[in-house]
């Protein structure tokens, strides 16, 4: 990964001053598209599997050759408004999201694909910036983007840029994380404060005219997950708490394992500004999206080791045990409030909407 991409539109034939935007020609399969791929994507994602430009990437099976190892495979589509937000952009999100989906299954991510749908008229400099952040996120996660596709659609047929990534990873023999495995007595861990991404996006859209210094928590979690599995090999399962937040993830786990999950409100980590956004808009941080925050269910006797391992990791400094698994109420998540009251923590209805009047 030594090639530096040209982000200066005047620096090469990619984007002379007169052609700073994507045109239909960039999706036409001809020279313009080849130039776009060759000048923008190839140098950024630079790796041997991609460089041969075949219709498919061919990967060294590596860890898969070990008996008992399994292939993990996932895909995710990314749409976000705005495309660039404090702490990340759609490119970083597209890499981290798929890496995290692999990582929380206990897989070591190997390779990603990247398909982009670009709206005619899209700014090339912005695209180059987004591709650069994909490259940086992939480098941090230690994965290669080995195959891809570029499509251009007419103005109005897409909202700027959509990215779909798929990823493969290897699950080592003996690692079998499953939400159905949660057992009464287990501890519920999170690796840091909740709702940073959701609150950041709400604010970044600008419709609510709020200002904060918040940043998205968008980050790859594979290193954190490997640290967890080393320290707490009995870990039952982990989930990436994206849309619907921690509340949605825990409801899924409670349902799959037919157990109750009981949270303790004062242990749930939330940054002051996220709390501020929630107080102003009548939202619950447990319902806000995260993009670098995982929930793990760990047997009680390994909870201390798991917590210590996460806290020793740069992305787990704010890790907390926020509750435990119980027999009942089956399939439900409850929250013990700081006052000793208790309430159900349900799935959010949809996107969190401000409730103010």
């Amino acid at each position: 990964m030594s090639t530096v991409i040209a982000t200066d539109p005047g620096a090469g034939h990619l984007a002379p001053p007169a052609h700073r935007t994507i045109t239909m020609a960039h999706g036409g399969g001809g020279r313009a598209m080849r130039d776009l791929v060759a000048d923008l994507f190839l140098p950024a994602f630079d790796n041997p599997a991609l460089a041969v430009l075949e219709d498919q990437a061919q990967l060294d099976p590596g860890g898969l050759a070990v008996p008992g190892a399994r292939l993990a495979f996932t895909t995710d589509g990314f749409v976000v408004r705005p495309l660039v937000f404090p702490g990340g952009d759609i490119g970083k999100l597209a890499v981290c999201g798929t890496v995290n989906d692999l990582a929380v299954g206990g897989a070591t991510p190997l390779a990603l694909s990247c398909a982009v749908v670009i709206e005619e008229g899209f700014d090339l400099v912005l695209l180059a910036g987004i591709v650069a952040s994909m490259r940086a996120a992939a480098a941090e996660a230690g994965v290669s983007i080995v195959t891809g596709d570029t499509k251009v659609v007419e103005r109005g047929a897409a909202d700027g840029l959509f990215i779909t990534t798929a990823g493969v990873g290897v699950v080592a023999p003996g690692v079998a994380l499953s939400a159905a495995a949660a057992r009464p007595g287990d501890a519920v861990l999170v690796n840091g404060p909740l709702g940073d991404h959701g609150a950041t996006i709400l604010v970044a859209r600008g419709d609510l005219a709020l200002e904060t210094e918040l940043q998205s928590d968008c980050r790859p979690l594979n290193g954190l997950m490997q640290a967890l599995l080393r320290a707490a090999p009995g870990t039952r399962c982990a989930r990436d708490a994206t849309r619907g937040g921690v509340a949605a993830v825990l409801n899924e786990i409670a349902g799959s394992a037919s157990v109750g999950i009981r949270l303790v409100e004062e242990t749930v980590p939330v940054r002051p500004a996220v709390r501020g956004v929630c107080e102003i808009l009548g939202l619950d941080p447990l319902h806000l999206a995260n993009e670098g925050t995982a929930v793990a269910i760990v047997p009680a006797d390994e909870a201390g080791a798991a917590l210590a391992a996460w806290r020793a990791h740069p992305y787990g400094a704010g890790a907390r045990i926020i509750g435990s698994v119980a027999e009942a109420p089956r399939g439900r998540v409850t929250l013990r409030t700081s006052l000793g009251g208790e309430r159900l923590l349900d799935l959010p209805l949809g996107d969190p909407l401000p409730r103010i009047c």
């Binding site: 709020l210 102003i280 103010i356």
Partner: protein, 93 residues
Amino acid sequence: MCLGVPARIVAIADAGRMLAVADILGVRREVNISCIADPDAPLTDEIGRWVLVHVGFAVSRVDEAEAQATLDMLHQIGEAEGERGHLRASLLA
């Protein structure tokens, strides 16, 4: 549900439109202060004061002395009930 949040005025954004910047746990938002600003004093006097914000309007001042009075009363209830609980516990013993 008439959601209202206590906020501190940290700046005046647009004196003509009576807009100030309010801060709530580090979250800032322009709010209209025409209903609470003192008409006989410069708007900048509002900086540092606490207001109750609803849908972008400062609808009331938050009165620190009254807040303290309520807390004092709660404290007294706490003490009174604490003593009662103690008495009841000693009767049971």
